[in-house]
């Protein structure tokens, strides 16, 4: 009995120290990535190439999802607002929901599952097939040549994707609210324009998407770089990227929202 208790405590200790050690590695990894970013900016072509893979190739899923989310918001918003006779505020509801919350969060979740998983799988496989070791043996630092360009590409593309998601969502809300249901177009746009505040709403939404971009790209790169060099290791790392990134986005969203709404 006592032996089992000692075993359990020991296992708890091991798990805790493992988590702390991995967190330490992850922090060291991101600090190294930031410190070794010089090459990426001197040879901006490296970042542009990755922007294409992480950003441009995520466009389809982001735009289509944005459109559908906006259209659903149009229906649901209209249904609720008409109960109070204020369906003219539909534009405000759609725009605020998207710019403040759904844009950064849903785009972040999609970005994690589309681009994040691809980054992890690619780097994990590069490690498993000794491409990273080969690079090191050629006196080329994989952090500055492989990791840093992908980090900056993710960091840059995430806010842009979130903005495009919101814009497409607003268009979806317009299609349903104005074109399909027949809400007055003038009030749809004018109320939106007067109610959405640049500093309070748009900037806060952009801040969120920047933070999510940082978190998702960091998690994806670290998971890939740290993956055991086997098929099972890479598949596990890819799953962990999606799960950890999604949880990080939702947790950070709560944290950021509570900080942003403190003054209200």
């Amino acid at each position: 009995m006592a032996e089992r208790a000692v075993f359990s405590v020991r296992r708890l200790g091991h798990t805790t120290s493992d988590i702390v050690i991995r967190l330490g590695y992850a922090v060291r990894f991101i600090v190294l990535t930031l410190l070794h970013s010089g090459t990426s900016f001197r040879r901006f072509g490296l970042i542009i190439r990755e922007l294409y893979y992480t950003g441009v190739q995520s466009l389809i899923i982001i735009l289509v999802s944005g459109l559908f989310v906006g259209m659903v918001l149009g229906f649901q918003g209209y249904h609720t607002l008409q109960t109070y006779g204020s369906e003219s505020a539909l534009g405000v509801l759609v725009a605020l929901s998207l710019v403040r919350e759904l844009g950064p969060v849903v785009a972040g979740l999609l970005f994690a599952s589309r681009a994040g998983s691809a980054i992890t799988a690619e780097i994990g496989l590069m490690k498993a097939t000794e491409q990273l070791s080969a690079m090191e043996m050629m006196a080329v630092d994989p952090i500055s040549r492989v990791v840093a360009p992908r980090f900056w590409a993710g960091f840059i593309s995430m806010p842009l994707l979130a903005a495009m998601f919101s814009a497409m969502g607003i268009f979806g809300g317009y299609l349903v609210g104005v074109v399909l249901i027949g809400v007055d177009e003038g009030s749809f746009w004018s109320q939106m324009q007067s109610a959405v505040d640049f500093r309070e709403d748009i900037v806060n939404g952009v801040i969120k998407s920047v933070v999510f971009g940082f978190a998702v790209t960091w998690i994806a790169l670290f998971q890939g770089y740290d993956a055991p060099p086997t098929a099972e290791g890479v598949s596990g790392a890819t799953t962990r990227t999606v799960v950890t990134s999604s949880l990080a986005i939702l947790g950070l969203d709560f944290l950021l929202t509570s900080l942003m709404f403190r003054g209200i």
Binding site: L125, M126, E130, Q131, A134, E136, M137, A139, D141
Partner: protein, 272 residues
Amino acid sequence: MATDNLIEISNVDYWYDKRRAILSGIDMVIPRGKVVAIMGISGSGKTTLLRLIGGVMKARKGEVKVDGKLVNKLDSAGIYEMRRRMGMLFQFGALFTDLSVFDNVAFQMREHSNLTERMIRDLVFMKLHAVGLRGAHRLMPSELSGGMARRVALARAIALDPMLMLYDEPFTGLDPISLGVIRNLIRRLNDALGATSIVVTHDVQEALDLVDYVYYLSDGKMVAQGTPEEMRAMKEPLVHQFVYGEADGPVPFQYPSKQYAEDLKLGARHHG
């Protein structure tokens, strides 16, 4: 003369866990211009030794000297400086899968030199010509056979005319023709570049036909060394079993286990 040796390793130990040494008391000398094999069964520590020479890991004890420089005392800038004069061929080539054959070979030239694209193009074609794959420069690594990938990787490894070539299991998984091609290339390139080569392998016959000298590792210790002829004639049981590929000998066929009868529960049945 000390300066005739490109690599001098003396009394080197390496371990992950102090109770289980991976390498212990390794002494080794590799003269310039020679092709030397480090042989031994899987898990004998030969790849670890190669990594110590390449500066991927640092010896826990003892000295690893490459071209007069103590590798275990070099900082990372020093290691990178040294690696620019080394080439390494990995077991399965390790080509960059997102780059074409041409770009793989050009990789190091672009990273480490200010050569114009035109000069890089000429150099890449010369390197690819040396391995017989000039015509494949547009292909992607996924379009290459195993043997071709290994040759492209070889062209990439010699891109900057290294003073030292490291080969990690260069013959694994190749058909007999590709194997012969790689074996000839290792010798030809070594002599043409005036380089020194270390071949880590357990492919006995290929290695003995190719190299000038052999070091034999077993369980992290250097148990034998000599020219290929000396190795073939050696009576040392470990080397003899290895060179002639005998299934049983000092290295047992069976992985350490309980008594066979005990595993089959024969004892229990007798009593039951």
